[in-house]
């Protein structure tokens, strides 16, 4: 089970990233638990300066804008 966190105050792109992760995980048959982190203090703890941020199993893999779908697949598979 991959533990995925999407960091963002709840703008459109943050929701889009949640959907992308869920779609990629389903397509690759990887079980995930996706959690939205909307609290500013908690987002700040991850050390990102832009949102949406993507954290997989505790590691920040992406920040700012939407990543490419193929990258999400690679991060989930890693």
């Amino acid at each position: 089970m991959k533990n995925v966190k999407v960091l963002g105050p709840g703008c459109k792109r943050c929701d889009a990233l949640v959907r992308m992760v869920e779609e990629e995980a389903a397509a690759a048959n990887i079980p995930v638990a996706v959690e939205k982190v909307t609290d500013y203090a908690e987002i700040a703890q991850y050390g990102v300066a832009s949102t949406p941020g993507l954290v997989i199993d505790g590691n920040v893999v992406h920040a700012g804008g939407l990543p490419k779908a193929e990258n999400i697949r690679q991060w989930l598979a890693a």
Partner: protein, 353 residues
Amino acid sequence: MSTPTLQENLPGNESASTVKWVSLTLAAIVLWFVLYSQLIPFSRWLTGLLPIEAGSHLYEAVAFFTYDTPKVIMLLSLIVFLMGIVRSFFSPERTRAILAGKREGVGNVLAACLGIVTPFCSCSAVPLFIGFVSAGVPLGVTFSFLIAAPMVNEVALGLLFGLVGWKIALTYLLFGLGVAIVAGWVIGRLKLEGWLEEWVLNIRSGAADIPDEKLTVIDRIKEGLEAVRDIVGRVWIWIILGIAAGAAIHGYVPADLMARIMGRDEWWTVPAAVVIGIPMYSNAAGIIPVVEALIGKGAALGTVLAFMMSVIALSLPEMIILRKVLTVRLIAVFAGVVGTGILAVGFLFNALF
């Protein structure tokens, strides 16, 4: 636009599609210039189709509208596209790494300039603020970035360039940067770190080490297109409304009216423009066509610039977002310092030109 370097071990079909994307992009840009050069004949033809007497108020207004609307939207699309490509080379995290530990002064200048090219959306303002401050970017330098990023943006510059000419666009760029640099420096000198919300001061996260995502040439072109879709898709309605308002001013407002109420002889017009501008929340797209029409009717340049800067740079919604990390006192200082800078620009311009 940057010249892309192809990776040597690129698979054959990928480099072939890179060539295809690049040539299609260049062809589209050539087509853009051809279309752009035909806009005047197009607007004459279109206006001529309507049963309006040439030279009438309505004719002037319609001719203005049918020429300016396609012109501005085309110019904006090109500039946003090129800016989208430039921005794909920058990120807030990279900018933060450049600014962390920089001295004030140099840091303020750098932060204001990076504010132009770093991708930034207002919903990211709070994470960006905390991310910068907690990673060791001085408060004043962070403010220089936060003032420049919304004020000197590609939409404002593109519209000014298209509607009012390159001289005023360049002036706006330089003075916008100037206000951001000086205001940030002043805020830094005031040593107001203690006026941040307490929880912000307690965050000692440092900067995350985010691995670089390799972007290909095609990815960058796609980012440019995405920027056009996103930004132009969002602001076109404001541009049309703004140009319609501008067209009405062009056709109907007497030429000396604006010179009388927004002329340079009245000292109070600059502060009045700033005070009216702050609560007005409009993006550059809606306000600049109106600004252009006001200048055409004799409004003083400094007054108009001050109005535009305060509408774009000092917005109530942004202050409300920043309230999460700044105390009310610090927001008041921020608005006061930036407002004073804008006032200075307005007075300086009215005195010089």
